[in-house]
């Protein structure tokens, strides 16, 4: 877990296997199998919630806010720290620099938030981005929907012209790596010469392109 993840999930503080409330109560729950319901604790304050999260039930005036620091990160357990850029942290928010990250992209100022507030949004990262695997390839262009087209039908994509000619099949195969994973894609069918009605009845289709009888040893 990196620094960025800790900002997104401040309630999850790994490392020791012991949550803050366990330390406060003097209970070693490091070997605990997980979340338990303790009869001596009110609902909503169990081990699934951190001490910081439980502060939400305390009026703001009674909370001891760490002045000038990122309030939702405890420096003793987090891998990154908020370096105060000035002497007066209250007047000028500190700048957080997380080690191991690109400074020009990840340097951000710690916003003034309450302890129980989650960050507004996660880093914008398109789901289809494959920078790690194919950094040299541009982002894929999603095909535009055609008039009257139903969802779930993939129209012709921008990579090859459809239908791909035998010489273009390899291009289409290469382009498939740029599509989002977890989806299935069907080449867009175009109208063609059809079988006669007598032949189509025997072939099982009016389209010669869809005539793919299963024969011994594979599909033709």
């Amino acid at each position: 877990m990196d620094c960025d993840t800790k900002q997104l999930y401040p309630e999850f503080l790994p490392g020791t296997g012991t949550y803050d409330w366990e330390v406060v109560r003097g209970v070693d729950m490091s070997a605990s199998p997980g979340t338990v319901i303790r009869p001596d604790m009110p609902l909503g304050s169990g081990p699934a919630r951190s001490e910081l999260a439980s502060l939400a039930s305390i009026p703001l005036s009674q909370q001891e806010m760490p002045s000038g620091a990122c309030p939702w990160i405890q420096s003793k357990k987090s891998g990154c720290s908020c370096n105060k850029s000035g002497t007066d942290a209250a007047s000028e928010p500190p700048v957080m620099k997380c080690p191991g990250m690109i400074s020009d992209q990840r340097t951000e100022k710690c916003p003034e938030r309450s302890a129980w507030q989650m960050p507004d949004k996660r880093p914008e990262r398109p789901a289809w981005q494959m920078a790690d695997r194919c950094p040299q390839k541009p982002a894929p262009q999603m095909p535009a929907m055609r008039p009257g087209q139903k969802m779930g039908v993939s129209p012709a994509v921008s990579c090859p012209s459809m239908p791909p000619k035998p010489s273009q099949v390899s291009d289409a195969a290469e382009c498939i790596d740029q599509f989002p994973v977890g989806m299935t894609y069907v080449p867009w069918q175009v109208w063609q010469r059809v079988f006669s009605v007598e032949t189509a009845m025997n072939m099982g289709t009016i389209f010669p392109d869809l005539f793919k009888p299963f024969t011994k040893g594979g599909c033709r």
Binding site: P147, V153, W191
Partner: protein
């Protein structure tokens, strides 16, 4: 068992019925294509082509071999639907 079929020629009726099946199959297949290609003019033209072919085949069959469906009964004073053998009789195709 005596066949109640009024077909003049059982072979012709089977052939006419086959033409109905063939045109109907082509119509069903192009319907599937049109579901995803509603603006394909070639497919629309083919649909009306096989639709007319199917209607003509049905008309010819019903004129010579009897109604294919209940709404194809042509006799005004007699319910000709019962002239054809019932499915469990295994006659006339």
């Amino acid at each position: 068992m005596q066949c109640k079929c009024k077909c003049k020629d059982k072979v012709d009726c089977a052939m006419l019925l086959k033409q109905v099946y063939q045109a109907g199959f082509a119509m069903d297949d192009v319907v599937l294509y049109l579901d995803t290609h509603p603006d394909d003019q070639d497919a629309l033209d083919y649909f009306y082509y096989v639709l007319n072919m199917r209607n003509e085949a049905i008309q010819v069959y019903e004129e010579q071999c009897g109604p294919l469906m209940a709404d194809g009964v042509m006799a005004e004073n007699y319910w000709s639907w019962i002239n054809d053998p019932w499915p469990w009789e295994g006659e006339c195709g």
